[in-house]
């Protein structure tokens, strides 16, 4: 089966529908599927729900889909970097479901592993626990959280081979692995596609079984907070 597509628009052809649930990888602007998000914007798909740790910034990442009002709902843990997001949310134009970051990651992992629900201590006694099943194990209270089964997953990796095996780079791995596994279809954008056999099988971060379509492209890889130190004088 051929997994390599020419560009983001072709890779999304036939898999985008209005109202779908999309799991997206990335943390902040690090390791986000920037080319696929751009293509989703161009597609005009509407009423989208995104399970994504963050919502990008105003003009990059998921933020570009907020500008065009293509997002109906976000499932996120932290959205503090996006002024347009706050404006739409406080005006009641956008639904928001806050998930604790680890709960969001585990919901994706669980969905990808065929687990519809799990119990966690995270959020017990907070608004996150409202309306959720509580259960005690060994004298401690836990709440039930549900796995995320996304219609589509979009992720960004460093390298892929043509069978879809992926390798990520440094902290750009983040949510890309759990997000990829929980999608019915997973589309990955990478910096480099290499022939099969050129990646060390022992070093694959995400096996190609989870990845259905791949594109190679040029990434801006914007830095959100550039922090540096000065070289000390010799």
């Amino acid at each position: 089966m051929k997994k390599i597509y020419a560009n983001a628009t072709e890779a999304l052809d036939g898999v985008l529908t209005d109202g779908m649930l999309i799991a997206a990888g990335g943390f902040g602007l690090c390791g986000i599927p920037e080319l696929l998000l751009e293509a989703i914007k161009d597609s005009g798909a509407q009423d989208l729900t995104f399970a994504s740790n963050n919502a990008g910034v105003d003009d990059f990442g998921i933020g570009i889909l907020l500008q065009t009002k293509q997002v109906k709902k976000m499932i996120s843990s932290y959205v503090g970097e996006n002024a347009e997001f706050m404006r739409q949310y406080l005006a009641g134009e956008l639904e928001l479901e806050f998930n604790p970051q680890g709960t969001l990651a585990e919901r994706m992992r669980a969905g990808g592993a065929g687990i519809p629900g799990f119990y966690t201590k995270t959020g017990v006694g907070t608004v996150i626990a409202d309306g959720k099943e509580h259960k005690d194990f060994n004298g401690e209270t836990y709440i039930m959280e549900e796995g995320i089964f996304a219609d589509l997953a979009i992720v960004k990796a460093w390298k892929a081979d043509d069978t879809g095996n992926l390798i990520f780079r440094k902290t750009a791995r983040n949510f890309n692995v759990p997000a990829a596994t929980c999608g019915k279809i997973c589309v990955a954008e990478v910096e480099e596609i290499v022939p099969r056999g050129s990646l060390d099988p022992d070093q694959i971060h995400l096996p190609g079984i989870y990845v259905h379509r791949i594109i190679q492209g040029d990434h801006e890889k914007r830095i959100e907070q550039r922090t540096t130190r000065k070289k000390e004088e010799a």
Partner: protein
């Protein structure tokens, strides 16, 4: 004189022991890394890294290498990378010995609020709820009072909670307090601060 930000961070660094895996929050907690000295501490960044190094030299920033505050950082010889589900597996699973976090409010039961002011500020809890529920010890570092002079150590938190009965120790600009049965216990007073000043700045019940 109350402690300044750096003195609070230095005091928090005393809480960390050789061999610990530790998560530092944003703000003053980040400064704690500057004061660990010779202790063998491994810093976790919950976006998927153990062994967090200092900021890079100018021109050496890597967009693929950031901390949980989205700042560019560097790796160390001990560094390992992993995905977010694995990262929170080690947090939830109790493998991280301690977290040092900032806070808006802490109360005498150890309840913590540091993620949301309703109707005003929508940011999200990030990984804070997972951290306070999962790590071995939660150390809060914050000013004793807010900018209006009101105590941040309360009988009961008024803001939406991050976690219930989760805080072990509070380090403020005035001193160090532990959450114990029945309230807060003063365990240390900043040099030049009096016990009366701490008591006056604390709304929570002090048991000693």
């Amino acid at each position: 004189m109350p402690w300044d930000r750096n003195q609070m961070a230095a005091r928090a660094a005393q809480e960390l022991e050789d061999g610990m895996y530790v998560n530092l929050g944003i703000g003053i907690p980040t400064l704690v890394a500057n004061y660990v000295g010779d202790k063998d501490i491994t810093l976790q960044s919950e976006n998927g890294m153990l062994g967090m190094g200092p900021f890079p030299f100018e021109g050496e920033e890597d967009p693929d290498l950031i901390n949980a505050g989205k700042q560019t950082i560097t790796e160390l010889s001990r560094t390992s990378y992993f995905d977010s589900a694995t990262s929170f597996g080690m947090i939830r699973g109790g493998k991280i010995a301690a977290a040092v976090l900032g806070a808006m409010e802490v109360d005498e039961e150890g309840d913590l609020a540091n993620w949301m002011i309703p109707g005003v500020l929508v940011k999200g809890m990030g990984g804070a709820m997972d951290l306070v529920a999962g790590v071995g010890r939660v150390i809060v570092v914050m000013d004793h009072t807010n900018k209006h002079g009101k105590s941040k150590l309360l009988q009961k938190c008024t803001l939406p909670l991050t976690g219930k009965k989760v805080v072990n120790r509070i380090i403020t600009n005035l001193g160090v307090l532990d959450v114990v049965d029945g309230g807060l216990k003063i365990v240390e007073i900043a040099e030049g601060v009096t016990e009366d000043e701490i008591r006056a700045a604390t709304e929570a019940k002090i048991v000693n």
